[in-house]
C-alpha cells in the first residue's frame, strides 16, 4: 500500500484528512522510475475549491498524456495542518505520490484571484522551496504561474521563475521538451530559463528590467537580453477540437464546491461588457463543435458516474447550437438520475422552457445580472441587458411558476451617480410589482427578490483599466443607500439585500493593477502570518495596512488615481490580443454612454481578428 506523507496521528487530528491523502478515482499514478519530468499542478486554495477548477483537470489530463511526464496535484493545506507542518518541518507533498514538491521538476500554480497571493507563498514555504526566484538553484523546481491573474503578474513577479500567459493547450509541450533536453545536457537553471523565455507567451520576470519615474509610475520596461521578446504575446488555442477537456475527471471523496461534470461549451464572450476582464482576455469567442460536446458529455459522465452535468461558458445563451445540445442531454439523461444544471443563461422563453424540464420550478431561483441599476449606467458598462428584457423575463418566469429571483449588481462602477444606486431597489420593486400583477388565487404566496451587490474592481486589459477606484467609505455609503432605498419601496417585504465585504475588495484592487513594488508587501504579509485572505475569517485589514506602511508603499497610488492614457502600465508588456486603441475607444464610448454592439452584430475592431478564428471569421462568412 501507498505510504502517506502525514502520520495517522496528524491525519486524525485535523479537519477533513481526505484533503491530503490523494487516491481519488481517476487520479493518475505512474511508475516514477519510468518518468523524466515530474510536474505538480497547484491550486492555491483549500482542496474543495481547487478540485472544482476545470483548468487544472484539463492540464492534468494533458500532461499525463505525455508518457515522459507524471503530473500530480497539490492544494493549500488548511491553517490547522499548516501549523503542524511548520512545527514539525514536514515538507509539502503531492497528493498522488505523497513525495515532497521540492524534488519535482516543475511546480505549476494556477492564479485565479488576487486574494490567493499569500497562499502562493504558503505553498512555496511549506514545500521548502525558496520564496524568491533569485534564491532558487538547480536543485529546486521551476515555479510556473498561469491563469487570469498572470495578465498582470507584476505584484507576484519575484516569486515566480516563469509565467505562462494564455491558454495552456498551446506551448507546454515545447516548454517541457526544451526543459528536458537542456536539463539532461546539464545546463544551468539561468540558461534554461533564458531559453524558455524565447517561447511564445512565456514570461521570465527576472529577465526584464523595470525603471520608475519619480512619481512612482513606470519609466521603462525592457528585456535584459536582445534575444527574448519585449512584448509577450498570449497563447490561444484557435482549433477548438484541440481545446483540452478531462477525459477522466478526478473525483474527490469529499464534496467539492463543484460536485459535477463540467462541460466547457465555449471560450470567450461576444458581449464586450466594459468591466469584465474575462470577456476581453479570452477573445476571440470560440464555440466548440456540438457533436464533440455530446461525445464529451457521454464520456465524462460514464468515466465519473456523476449525477450532474453543468454547462460552462461566460454566456451560454450565445452558444448557437445550445438547443441541440440541451435537447440531446435532456433526452438522454433527464429523469435517469442525472441532473442538468444551466448557469449563465439569459432568461427568455427558451431558457425557461428548458429550466422547467430540468429543475424543480418551485425550489429554484432565476438569476439576472443587470450589474447596474439604471439603463444609463448599463449603457456605460456596455451591459446589453435592458429593463424590458429583465421585466419580460421575470414576467414569463412568474407566469411559469417561479417565485424567486436573484439580481446581481456592482457598486462603484465608473460614472455611477446616486440615481444609479437607488435604481437597484427600484428595479427590484418593478419586478415585485410584475409578480403581484398575477391574480392572488393564481400565485403561490410572496415572491422573493434578492439583490446582491459586489464592489467594482478595475482590471487590466479592460476599458476601465485607467479609472480611479471607489473608496471604502463610498462602498459602505452606497450599500447603505441601497438598503435605505429598499426600505422606501412598497414591496420591501419581498426583497432581500446582500452585500460583500469592502476591505477585501480594496486589496484586490491594489493587487489587480499593481506593480513589482508590491512583492515586498505580499512577502511581509506572509511573514506576519497572513494566509487564506480570500476567507473573511483570515483576512486582517490591519495587518495589511501595517505591511504597506513598513514597506513604504502607498496603496492609494494603485487605486485612487485616474491614470493617463500615455502612462506605461505594469502589464503593457503583455499583448492580450485586444489593442490599447480599442480599450481607449471603449472607455471614451463609456463616458458618452455609447453602446458597442456584440461581436456577432458588428465587429468592434478590438484587434483580436489578427488570430483569424472563432467569432471573427464566423460572421464574415
Amino acid at each position: 500500500m501507498r505510504k502517506l506523507a502525514l502520520s495517522d496521528d496528524i491525519l486524525m487530528s485535523i479537519d477533513k484528512p481526505a484533503r491530503y491523502i490523494g487516491n481519488e478515482v481517476n487520479s493518475v499514478v505512474k511508475d516514477k522510475n519510468k518518468i523524466d519530468i515530474r510536474f505538480c499542478m497547484c491550486f492555491p486554495d483549500v482542496y474543495e475549491i481547487g478540485m472544482s477548477h476545470l483548468g487544472i483537470q484539463i492540464l492534468y489530463d494533458m500532461f499525463n498524456q505525455r508518457e515522459d511526464t507524471w503530473c500530480e496535484r497539490v492544494y493549500s493545506p488548511w491553517p490547522d495542518l499548516h501549523k503542524i507542518m511548520k512545527e514539525k518541518n514536514i515538507p509539502l507533498f503531492a497528493l498522488e505520490s505523497q513525495d515532497p514538491l521540492k524534488d519535482f521538476d516543475f511546480l505549476g500554480i494556477t492564479i485565479q484571484y488576487e486574494m490567493c497571493y499569500t497562499n502562493l507563498l504558503q505553498i512555496l514555504d511549506l514545500a521548502q522551496v525558496p520564496l524568491l526566484s533569485k534564491d532558487r538553484t538547480n536543485e529546486h523546481p521551476i515555479v510556473i504561474g498561469g491563469g487570469p491573474c498572470t495578465y498582470n503578474p507584476e505584484p507576484i513577479a519575484d516569486f515566480f521563475d516563469i509565467f505562462y500567459i494564455g491558454e495552456g493547450e498551446t506551448v507546454y509541450d515545447e516548454l517541457l521538451d526544451t526543459y528536458k533536453k537542456m536539463r539532461d545536457e546539464g545546463c544551468d537553471r539561468r540558461d534554461i530559463l533564458h531559453e524558455l523565455a524565447k517561447i511564445r507567451g512565456i514570461y521570465v520576470p527576472a529577465l526584464y528590467d523595470v525603471t520608475y519615474n519619480e512619481d512612482g509610475t513606470i519609466s521603462s520596461f525592457k528585456p535584459i537580453y536582445d534575444d527574448i521578446p519585449a512584448v509577450i504575446e498570449k497563447n490561444v488555442e484557435m482549433n477548438t477540437s484541440n481545446i483540452g477537456w478531462p477525459r477522466k475527471p478526478v473525483i474527490p471523496f469529499i464534496k467539492a464546491i463543484q460536485d459535477r461534470v463540467t462541460l466547457e461549451i465555449m471560450r470567450g464572450c461576444i458581449r464586450g461588457c466594459r468591466f469584465c476582464q474575462a470577456g476581453m482576455l479570452y477573445r476571440p469567442t470560440r464555440e466548440r463543435d456540438v457533436n464533440e460536446l455530446k461525445a464529451m458529455a457521454d464520456q465524462m459522465l460514464s468515466s465519473t458516474g456523476y449525477d450532474e452535468i453543468s454547462l460552462s461558458s461566460l454566456s451560454s445563451s450565445d452558444y448557437r447550437p445550445l438547443k441541440e445540445l440541451l435537447d440531446y442531454l435532456i433526452e438522454k439523461y433527464n429523469g435517469k438520475g442525472v441532473n442538468i444544471s444551466l448557469p449563465s443563461l439569459r432568461i427568455d422563453a427558451f431558457s425557461l422552457d428548458v429550466m422547467s424540464k430540468v429543475q424543480d420550478v418551485r425550489k429554484s431561483s432565476l438569476t439576472f445580472a443587470p450589474e447596474a441599476g439604471t439603463q444609463r449606467l448599463r449603457d456605460v458598462i456596455n451591459k446589453g441587458l435592458t429593463e424590458e428584457d429583465i421585466l419580460n423575463g421575470a414576467g414569463l418566469a412568474f407566469d411559469g411558476g417561479w417565485q424567486k429571483v436573484k439580481l446581481y449588481f456592482m457598486l462603484g462602477l465608473p460614472l455611477e451617480t446616486e440615481d444609479d444606486i437607488k435604481g437597484i431597489p427600484q428595479l427590484a420593486e418593478k419586478i415585485c410589482r410584475r409578480y403581484y400583477e398575477i391574480p392572488k388565487d393564481q400565485r403561490n404566496g410572496k415572491c422573493q427578490v434578492t439583490m446582491s451587490t459586489s464592489f467594482f474592481v478595475p482590471k487590466p486589459f479592460t476599458p476601465f483599466q485607467w479609472v480611479k477606484m471607489a473608496t471604502s467609505d463610498y462602498f459602505i455609503e452606497s450599500a447603505k443607500l441601497v438598503k435605505a432605498t429598499m426600505m422606501e419601496q412598497l414591496n420591501k417585504k419581498s426583497m432581500h439585500y446582500i452585500w460583500h465585504h469592502e476591505d477585501v475588495t480594496i486589496l484586490e484592487g491594489i493587487f489587480a493593477r499593481g506593480d513589482r513594488k508590491l512583492c515586498d508587501v505580499i512577502l511581509k504579509a506572509y511573514e506576519k502570518g497572513q494566509i487564506f485572505d480570500a476567507w473573511e475569517e483570515y483576512f486582517k485589514v490591519d495587518v495589511w495596512n501595517e505591511c504597506f506602511r513598513e514597506c513604504d508603499v502607498d496603496p492609494d497610488f494603485y487605486i485612487f488615481r485616474e491614470r493617463d492614457y500615455d502612462e506605461i502600465l505594469p502589464w503593457d508588456f503583455i499583448d492580450a490580443g485586444v489593442s490599447k486603441d480599442f480599450l481607449i475607444r471603449e472607455y471614451e464610448n463609456a463616458k458618452k454612454g455609447i453602446v458597442t454592439p456584440n461581436c456577432r452584430k458588428k465587429c468592434a475592431g478590438c484587434g483580436i481578428a489578427q488570430y483569424k478564428g472563432g467569432v471573427c471569421v464566423e460572421h464574415k462568412g
Partner: protein
C-alpha cells in the same frame, strides 16, 4: 431485487468518512454499470442503505451496503465489474441476492466483531497474549462492568457485561501492516439500533481495569465482521443472509 454488497476498507481509505464512502459507491455503481433502481420524485436517488457506519480511522473487512437493482449479472461478474471501479483500499468481497422478505441491513445489525493492535510493533499495551487473556478473564468475571455512556439525554451508567459476546487476545497478521504476526485483542460487542457499544467504550473500560492508558493514536481498530441474529438468536454474519447469483 435486493442485493447485499460486502466490501473491505483499508489503508488510506480509513480516513474517508461514512457519507463520503456512500457518495463514492453511488458513482462507482454507475461506472460499473450496475442496473440500480431509483426512488420516485423530482430528484430520484439510488436505492441504497449501509449497515453500521464505520468511524474515521477504523479499517474493516466487514462493510455492508444493500442496494436495489432492476436486473443483475452473476455475483462473480458484478464483483469483477465493481472492483474495476474501486480505488486502492476498497475491495468488493461479495455480492449476494437477498430473499424478497429480507429486512435491510441497517435494521438487523446486532453485533460487530473487532480487533485492535499496536500500530507500531511493541509500542503499546497489546503485546503479551497470555497476560492479556488472564486480564480479560478477570475483567469478564466481574459481577458488573459499569461504564458511563454519553447519550443525547446526558450521561447514563450502563452495565457492559451482557453486551460483550466474545473477548480474547491472540496473535494474527494484519493486511494494513508488514507481514509479521502481532498480538491483538478480539471482541464481539452489541452494535446497532438497540444497544450500540462503540469499540472505544469497551477498550477504555478494559484499559482502565488494567490500569493502562488508552491512547487511541497508538492503536489500530479493525472491524472484522458485522452480525445479525437468526430465529434462534444466534449471531450470523450479514453475509450469510444472501445467496450467490450464478448464471
Amino acid at each position: 431485487m435486493n442485493i447485499r454488497v460486502k466490501f473491505s476498507k483499508h489503508g488510506s481509505m480509513k480516513f474517508i468518512g461514512h457519507l463520503d464512502i456512500m457518495r463514492f459507491f453511488q458513482k462507482a455503481i454507475i461506472r460499473a454499470g450496475i442496473d440500480i433502481a431509483y426512488s420516485e420524485g423530482f430528484n430520484p436517488h439510488q436505492i441504497m442503505s449501509f449497515a453500521a457506519p464505520l468511524s474515521v480511522g477504523v479499517v474493516s473487512d466487514g462493510e455492508y451496503m444493500d442496494i436495489r437493482v432492476k436486473s443483475t449479472k452473476s455475483s462473480a461478474d458484478s464483483i469483477r465489474a465493481l472492483n474495476e471501479c474501486m480505488v486502492e483500499g476498497i475491495r468488493v468481497e461479495d455480492y449476494k441476492l437477498l430473499p424478497d422478505n429480507a429486512k435491510n441491513s441497517m435494521s438487523i445489525v446486532a453485533s460487530a466483531k473487532y480487533a485492535i493492535y499496536n500500530k507500531t510493533s511493541g509500542v503499546g499495551f497489546i503485546n503479551d497474549v497470555d497476560y492479556l487473556n488472564k486480564m480479560i478473564s478477570d475483567y469478564l468475571s466481574q459481577e458488573e462492568i459499569l461504564i458511563t455512556k454519553e447519550t443525547k439525554k446526558g450521561e447514563t451508567t450502563l452495565n457492559l457485561k451482557p453486551f460483550i459476546y466474545e473477548f480474547k487476545a491472540e496473535v494474527k497478521s494484519f493486511p494494513d501492516e508488514e507481514a509479521v504476526d502481532r498480538a491483538c485483542l478480539i471482541f464481539n460487542i452489541s452494535t446497532g439500533s438497540l444497544t450500540n457499544i462503540k469499540p472505544e467504550l469497551l477498550l477504555q473500560s478494559f484499559f482502565d481495569y488494567c490500569k493502562e492508558e488508552f491512547n487511541e493514536n497508538i492503536y489500530q481498530i479493525y472491524r472484522l465482521e458485522v452480525y445479525s441474529r437468526d430465529e434462534s438468536e444466534n449471531l450470523v454474519s450479514l453475509n450469510d443472509l444472501g445467496a450467490n447469483i450464478e448464471y
